[in-house]
Amino acid sequence: MKRSAGCTATALALAAMVTWPALGQAQEPIRIGAPFELTGRFAAYGTAGKRGVEMAVDAYGKRVLGRPIEVKYVDVQSNAQVTVSAMTELLEQERVDYVIGPITSGVVSWATPPWRQRKPVWLVPGSSSTRNETELGKEKYFFHPYPWDYDYHASLTAMLKHYIGTGKKLAIVYSDGAYGRAHLPHAKEAFAGAGYRIVLEELVREGAADYSPALLKVRQARPDLLLGLVQTADAILLTKQAKSANVGVPYLVGTVYAALNEWQKATGAAGDGWLSVTSYMPNLKRPGNPKYPKLFPSSDDWEKAFRARYNREPEFLDPLNYVAAVMLFMAIDRAGSIEKDKVVAELEKMDEPTFYGRAKYTKSKGGTLHQAFSAMIVMQRQNGKSVVIYPPEVAKGKLITAGP
């Protein structure tokens, strides 16, 4: 009896020794770095990114491969030095396995040098600047589930050709930051290629207090279209001053800012008539994925869950970051390992319908190896509401001219 008990104890001890490391690994969290712009001038973008990732972690049951998902959110403060130190800390001290974020083009470019030190799998659900595409697109571990700036201008010009034809005069106001300068050549190429004549290119300073001189030049040029290649804070000033200066341009064209709640609230009636491209907006009534109804429900159901949790309307970046994070978790599950090459292989194979669009990484026009969600819709602010006007199959209204 004693001998039998001794054997059992020894067997249990041996079993514990063999399984302990595996058990330990099973409990060890999967660390994901989430450097977002939670404060500073790009806070609206970063906080949307964080909300999307939070919802994804919860929707996935907070575990992947039986291990808890641990997301390290850090605030990069929309600041270059803070971004570099936050990325370095995530990669060197926290030793995260994957990185999601930041969102905006300039911040992504600041985060790039520290990322290069270790090169974990990096999802950037934002950043339209092709400067980042040139810098990062060919990297094997870089994933970009968001359109590049040439996708913006391709959608805008297609919409304009559809409604007003070609041969119109265009004035461009662009900011001196990474955003404006990166967009300018692609905008010129797309608009000139579509048959629009560029009569003015006016540079403005990011964060300036007065755009009156630039707008006076626009008035004098008498264009049919005004294209504002600036980011949200500057776009608010441009919009309000364009209204008070009565620039008299029939078509006011923005990039993505006119789709943001922040811009819409700040500009109020002055925003009427402005056009915007976006990859998502509420009430599109898109179906979910019947194979994964909990992870990819219909857009209505997802928006309902979002509103219940955050008591606000989702922005285009909320569902984008959600879908991008869920895709990553699914890839880790399918790989059966956190080894990055296996996860990359699974991300490359993934092809799932979602309420955000088809979740499939392919090669972009500009050479990004892993590009998803390049399709965009065009909306216009009409009487204080956002109305989808292009492409025709999802349009709820037609293009109208901006009021006086």
């Binding site: 006016e202 300073r205 300036a208 007065d210 209204k243 008070s244 200066a245 700040a266």
Partner: protein
């Protein structure tokens, strides 16, 4: 010709706003000899006060301006009495660190209370404009300029003709002599700091319908305001006015005259200011101030 008149008008409008943002710094330095890095946050708080009064109580930012100015003045007075007065005798570095710390606290408080979202108020004059021949007058900037001029004139009048104003100038000129004359210099300090904050809040109230608001809007403004104050001569109210007008006009001139000038305006203007400081290292009114101290 029309272009140059437009340039002059827009330059003056911008200079008026810069004056209001900078004059408070000049006043507090001139009297208390403290460089207040939290001044930009008074501008920010003034903007938010005007924004919330407009949003919650439908008060036009121009209507609520007296309330905003009063609130800013009381807040500045209390901040001096409770916090700033403790470092009056401390080294300049400690004073700078304290005001910088206050600035960070106020910024973060604004983030906690109102989030980092960009906002903007709308006034009845926001989108009104008149065309006088080739010149466009936007009423929002015109009225902001007029209000700024009125406030600056009121400050100068108060300094020149009121008893407390004369006492304030006396403290600015020679603190020891003022003390010997029986002037309550601690009270004058607190009053000057309060007026300085009120002017910052007034600038904020006017900016609330002109530019986007955020908890971080104060810092870039205060950097520009320090450049203006240095150009005009540290501590000189007249110098701050001259510096602000010069900066407003030079920025607007560069914007209008150079191709893509709006993008170069700040850079070229600061080079221009640097040139003036090389010629007059004490600033435009700095010499006069120094002579007054002797």
């Amino acid at each position: 010709m029309g272009l140059y008149v437009q340039l002059l008008v827009d330059g003056l409008f911008l200079g008026g706003l810069y004056t209001l943002a900078a004059i408070g710094i000049s006043l507090s330095y001139g009297v208390i000899r403290i460089i207040n890095f939290a001044h930009g946050e008074f501008v920010m708080l003034g903007s938010y006060a005007a924004f919330w009064l407009a949003t919650l109580y439908k008060l036009d930012p121009l209507t609520s301006l007296p309330l905003v100015v009063l609130g800013g003045g009381v807040a500045g007075y209390l901040l001096f009495r409770w916090v700033i007065r403790h470092v009056l005798e401390a080294p300049h570095l400690n004073q700078i660190l304290l005001t910088f710390g206050i600035s960070l606290v106020l910024q973060n408080l604004a983030v906690v209370l109102w989030t980092g979202d960009l906002r903007s108020a709308t006034s009845v004059v926001s989108y009104a404009a008149a065309e006088l021949g080739p010149v466009l007058l936007t009423f929002s900037r015109l009225i902001a300029f007029v209000v700024a001029v009125l406030l600056v004139v009121a400050l100068l009048g108060w300094l020149k003709w009121s008893e407390l104003g004369r006492a304030t100038r006396a403290v600015a000129q020679n603190q020891q002599a003022a003390l010997l004359m029986g002037i309550p210099i601690r009270f004058i300090y607190a009053l000057s700091f309060g007026i300085s904050a009120a002017l910052g809040a007034a600038a904020g109230g006017l900016l609330s319908f002109l530019i986007p608001l955020s908890p971080w809007m104060g810092f870039p403004l205060v950097v520009k305001a320090f450049a203006i104050v240095a150009l005009g001569g540290l501590g000189s109210v007249m110098g701050a006015i001259a510096g602000a007008m010069l900066l407003g006009l030079s920025e607007t001139a560069v914007s209008y005259v150079l191709p893509g000038g709006s993008g170069w305006a700040e850079g070229v203007s600061f080079v221009f200011l640097l040139g003036i400081l090389l010629l007059r290292p004490r600033g435009i009114y700095g010499q006069a101030l120094e002579e007054q101290h002797r």
